[in-house]
Amino acid sequence: MMNDGAMPDHLMIAPILIPLVAGALMLFYSDRNRQTKLIMGLVAVGLTFLASIELMADVKSATEQGGTVVGLYRLGDWPVPIGIVLVLDRLSAMMVMLTALLAAPSLIYAAAGWQGKGQHYHSMFQFLLAGVNGSFLTGDLFNLFVFFEVMLAASYGLMLHGSGPERIKAGLHYLAVNLAASLLFLIGVALVYGTTGTLNMADIGRALYWLDDAERLLFHAAATFLGLAFLIKAAAWPLGFWLPPTYGAAAPPAAAIMAIMTKVGVYVILRLSLLVLGPDAGLSAGFGASVLMIGGVLTMGFGMIGVLGTPELVRKGGYLAIISSGTVLAAVGFAQAGGGSSMLGGALYYMIGSTAAIAAFFLIAEPVSRDDRGDDDDTPAEADGFDPLSERWAPMGLGTVEDTTAPASQRTVSWLTMAICFGLVAAMLAGLPPMPGFIGKLAILRGAVQDNLPAGGHLPVILWAYAAMLILSGLGALIALMRFGIRRFWAEEGPTPRILALEVVPVVMLLGMIGLQTLRSDALLGYTNATAGALLEPGVYRNAVLADAQDVRAAPVQNLAPDPVADDQDANGPNAAAEEAQ
């Protein structure tokens, strides 16, 4: 524990407070001062990033290689099982850093024009970041609900940013689905509280031992409700139909930052299923693992079919996000069922790279789809002044030199940069070497075979299905994206749409991050493997949170009549519960 001394580590709350304060400060400025707001937003994101570097250094154990230090921050300094705590471990530090890294390119991209298409873009963006970081850091189930709602409320605004019938229609569906999911979340929280009497995530795991059969059944119902709510957010099949239209209709920078939001759902499932229902949970051990395994594999299949089937490029991005979610969810299921930590470590590595790639994909998809006449494979060319026959006779633009109406010089540098970035992102999402997608998938497969190959030499069927899906989904993504790339970047003639430098720079930044992930893959894989190892030993987390927690349930009901000498101290425990309700 970091804060053994009297001084708690206030840095831990910085990733929540910085965006919250920045977002609130922006509201004092008129919405016309967009440049000021942009700079404030970038400063806030930069500060969050610096804080996340410091937090990441804190969780690494100084003495032991690959060890984990779990940090605890008591909000309002209330004693642990009563008050709300923030908990910092390797996973949350990593996710906070990833959020900051995705936020900066998205903000810069918005400066190219999207920030002016509606009101208060920058404030909503900061509130979204506060909600996302809060969800990653909180150690309390109901507090998680509150941060989730902060994040969702901001995301409704961002999703609708720019307005228009298409966005309103998709927003209506998005809002209805998420409201229903939030209600499922609340039912789950209420059931957890009703059975275990606590909402502290670490304490729930401890309380699980004392449940009798009837209560355990109810607790499993609670876990099912919570799982449903988070699987909806993580867009697992068959609960993820809302995602592609929503992300397709959202403004590109909003969609890019919303790529991290599906990962918040994945994160909570990862956290709860390994902390509460992990291998050491007694009778409840491994509850839901089979759902995650089978559901994850089916989700990947659904995403693959979707990415091949949809003609619109932005929607392909949504299906790619679904594939990425499914990959990680299935790995969580395997880890929960005892599949070993190196597979989960690989999946976490894959999650970082694929989230960045999906964000980059959304930023690329909109500019390169401008003035796109669509897939003309099976429809005759549009009658827009050209002779349809001559169009048909130049397959892939490989017409003779005299036929070529558009010389190569009409392709601008920014267009070519976008084309190269598109190819790299496609290679990343398909899992081709040397991109992190390949390294992550290789690490998953190696972990799957190494840790699960018994002496008999037979892998379980579901692992075979997962391995096959891992490769097939990459192939599906590759076919779908290359088909678009060839048609749009090679075959198409004529002037290219205007692309601003402000739109190219963020994409290059994200690709730089992906490249760095390949170059430093050894260090990063070491970190994610240690993260997975720590997640599979929930005792460390639990002990750190509950180190000096009194167990309120274990204490017999006693008459706490005020002692004439020290009445304030004695009444402290129960009073704390009452005060917390305020």
Binding site: A153, I168, L183, A571, N575
Partner: protein, 114 residues
């Protein structure tokens, strides 16, 4: 009292789910409201039912926890009410915008052709 509360939650949630499946956006919003009421009552019930017990203890007085209602679910319900109220208001705005943009109150923005 348990039976009445259970029936009330059941009726609210049942009607809410049915309305949520309806094609008109106004029905959906009423369904979400009813669902939220049912869920809020459910959270309340999960803190066990007390009659005539205060949730807040007097300062320094005689404190026997069994004589008081559990304050935590009440705090949770309060938060949940505020959040669902705000999001429902947003949904209402969106519904009106959708009605204005598409000219119909069908949730898909167009009437089903049949």
């Amino acid at each position: 009292m348990e039976l009445i509360l259970a029936l009330a939650i059941g009726v609210l949630v049942g009607s809410g789910v049915w309305l949520l499946m309806r094609p008109r956006s106004y029905q959906v919003i009423v369904g979400l409201c009813l669902l939220a009421y049912g869920v809020n009552l459910f959270i309340f019930a999960m803190g066990r039912l007390y009659v005539g017990a205060a949730p807040i203890m007097p300062k320094g007085g005689f404190v026997d926890p069994t004589a008081y209602a559990d304050p935590l679910p009440q705090a949770l319900v309060l938060t949940a009410i505020v959040i669902s109220f705000a999001t429902t208001a947003l949904f209402l705005v969106l519904m009106i915008a959708s009605r204005g943009a598409t000219g119909t109150d069908h949730v898909d923005g167009k009437e089903r052709q049949s």
